[in-house]
Symmetry: C2
């Protein structure tokens, strides 16, 4: 029996290897296999097997401009190639442009999703990226649905629970981690490497074991667009609707999480952080619900003072908090706005940190920020 099963399995494997289960094989059949990307010493080489293409370019997010590309050269057997100097340690995304059409690298399995686009990635090793890799003790990533009465829809959120959560019997602090415009409930776990960063920091004893909740910040969406669910027809740039999401976060998601998970339901064990639009949500939540979060981290976002916001900031100051950690890149298009918020916080006597990094409005910065502020939480 074992032998025959093995034979059947082996026979199937051969077919399986060719058909990869009923799918198109245009990239495989009779073509030389290539390795791409290949990091070797101080360089990295990209390759694409595309014999019939006229022009192949390489686009990578390390290039300075959005329209910059690196021309690839056609070599033997129709394999296009480009070699670049290895960029600084970081996670990079890239794709090929074959006769004007964006194409994923068919031999690189590592893919990030940015909104509605799938992009190949590679990690240049180094101190900066050490915590972005998988470690030995991994938490659980779950996709959950909550009912929002405020937004009138059932909505998906991503929840990270630390290694050992299921059997420890302990209660945990919670970080609410918000994405930016164009993102969704998978942005922090896909592009942000949130699970890997937390796994590493917790394993090293640098961060408290915590639950991380990553909701969908687009109030018209039930879930990431990739799930194909209908969106609500509402103008979410309307201030009333913008607050509707923050209200859903503070009045619906926080209680939902506290009911579903073993949570220490106290402000000193509750943090909020968000990038860009999510930084706006973070600022709004901290000011509209001053007693809710004792750790407040707006990333790559700022705000101009108004009479109302100053009143709210005074309310937050009076109510008390443990950490106000503002971060922005020094070439970010919102850097001036962040500097203004920093100035307002100083003027209003709110103790805070203004963490300024190199660079702009990028996931390289947002990963760095998470890796930097997570160890400061709940201590």
């Amino acid at each position: 029996m074992k032998k025959i099963l093995t034979l059947v399995a082996a026979a199937f494997l051969m077919i399986g290897a060719v058909s990869a289960q009923e799918l198109n094989n245009f990239n495989f059949r009779g073509r030389a296999q290539v390795v791409s990307p290949e990091i070797k010493g101080d360089s990295v080489t990209f390759r694409l097997n595309a014999n019939y293409a006229t022009i192949v370019n390489l686009y990578g997010n390390w290039l300075p401009g959005y329209t910059d590309v690196i021309p690839m050269k056609k070599g033997a057997e129709g394999i296009w190639e480009a070699t670049i100097a290895l960029p600084e340690p970081e996670i990079y995304t890239y794709n090929f442009i074959v006769d004007g059409v964006s194409v994923n690298d068919p031999v690189n399995y590592m893919v990030q999703r940015d909104g509605t686009r799938y992009l190949n990635m590679f990690i240049v090793p180094g101190e900066r990226t050490a915590n972005y890799n998988e470690t030995a003790h991994r938490g659980t990533v779950s996709y959950k649905w909550y009912d929002s009465n405020i937004l009138g829809i059932n909505r998906r959120l991503t929840v990270y629970t630390p290694y050992g959560y299921e059997t420890s019997g302990k209660k945990y602090p919670v970080l609410y981690l918000l994405h930016g415009a164009g993102g969704d409930e998978e942005a922090w776990s896909s592009m942000g490497r949130a699970a890997q960063i937390l796994d590493n920091l917790i394993e090293q004893g640098k961060a408290e074991p915590m639950i991380v909740v990553m909701p969908n910040g687009n109030p018209n969406q039930q879930a990431a667009q990739t799930m194909g669910l209908p969106v609500t027809q509402m103008n979410w740039r309307d201030p009333a609707n913008a607050n509707a999401y923050v209200r859903s976060l503070c009045e619906e998601i926080v209680p939902f999480i506290q009911k579903q998970y073993r949570v220490i339901a106290k402000p000193e064990k509750r943090a909020i952080a968000g990038l860009s639009m999510g930084g706006g949500h973070t600022i709004a939540a901290s000011q509209l619900y001053p007693s809710m979060f004792d750790y407040i981290c707006p990333l790559s976002m700022g705000a101009n003072p108004t009479e109302e916001s100053i009143k709210q900031l005074q309310g937050l100051k009076k109510d008390g908090y443990k950490l106000y950690w503002l971060a922005c890149g020094n070439t970010d298009f919102l850097f001036e706005s962040a500097k203004t918020l920093d100035k307002t916080l100083t003027e209003q006597g709110l103790k805070h940190t203004f963490f300024v990094s190199e660079g702009g409005h990028t996931w390289a910065n947002w990963r760095l920020y998470l890796n930097t502020f997570a160890p400061l939480l709940f201590k």
Copy 2:
């Protein structure tokens, strides 16, 4: 404050809409937006904006042969188009081939992952696909890690818990649902629409609320290749290693799940089902651990009788079970093997169902099977 935040957010949104966060815009900039695929009456139209391409073909999994393609025609503004008669209600995958290179449809957000390949999908509505769509009451999909001493690695598995699990306080039956060669722990939730099928069946009262555990059946892998984790250097076609996975399933995964979840830990509340290679695992597990599963569903797999397997089948018969549900497509390359197993079960006096469907070794069949046998479990 609200107003200014809104202005900052609106300004960012404009930039965000253009840059989709720091990425290449070759498909957007200055090009006409297209709709693809567009289902209209009895036809479906595919479109791709690719002004510089020489030849664009459409590949779809409804086409009879692996090398069959539909030529697309270049129209105004460099938009390529192909219209086909709407195929029968089912989920289909497709991609474009631009000058010989496979390309995803950049305007269709719905993507399935098949092994290491991302494929666009669309659903043709109908009775057959009714349960493949999202419903109102959704369960949770979690990615968990378990330590396998037998395989010497930490491994990822996907767990579906039904709607209401977290707050019901109840214990649930468990279905162990196994993928085929080329698949991984996300195959059933991505291509198989397992969460949607269970959500629908449970909501309609047709299936018992159950936990579904979808492990990774490749014993050399820690997780799907897309996670970039190193694989174990072992020959898993070796019978000893093939059993190593089944042993890990029955001796490690089953106890792990029973520890982590509220489970009715009895054979009559434990089911096993698997497709192709996973059907082989199902057959092996049911025979090597005859007291473990009272519901046994090998899909698109069979086995020739041997002295040993007949002894094991007699053991299973003696031990007792509630359902043996074998399924195969009538053009499947393993149909003869499945017929042989059906014959052996009859000859050996093991009560069973042999469910024969149209078609071959396809996800269309595996979705149909899950949708058909799930209502029979735990009753």
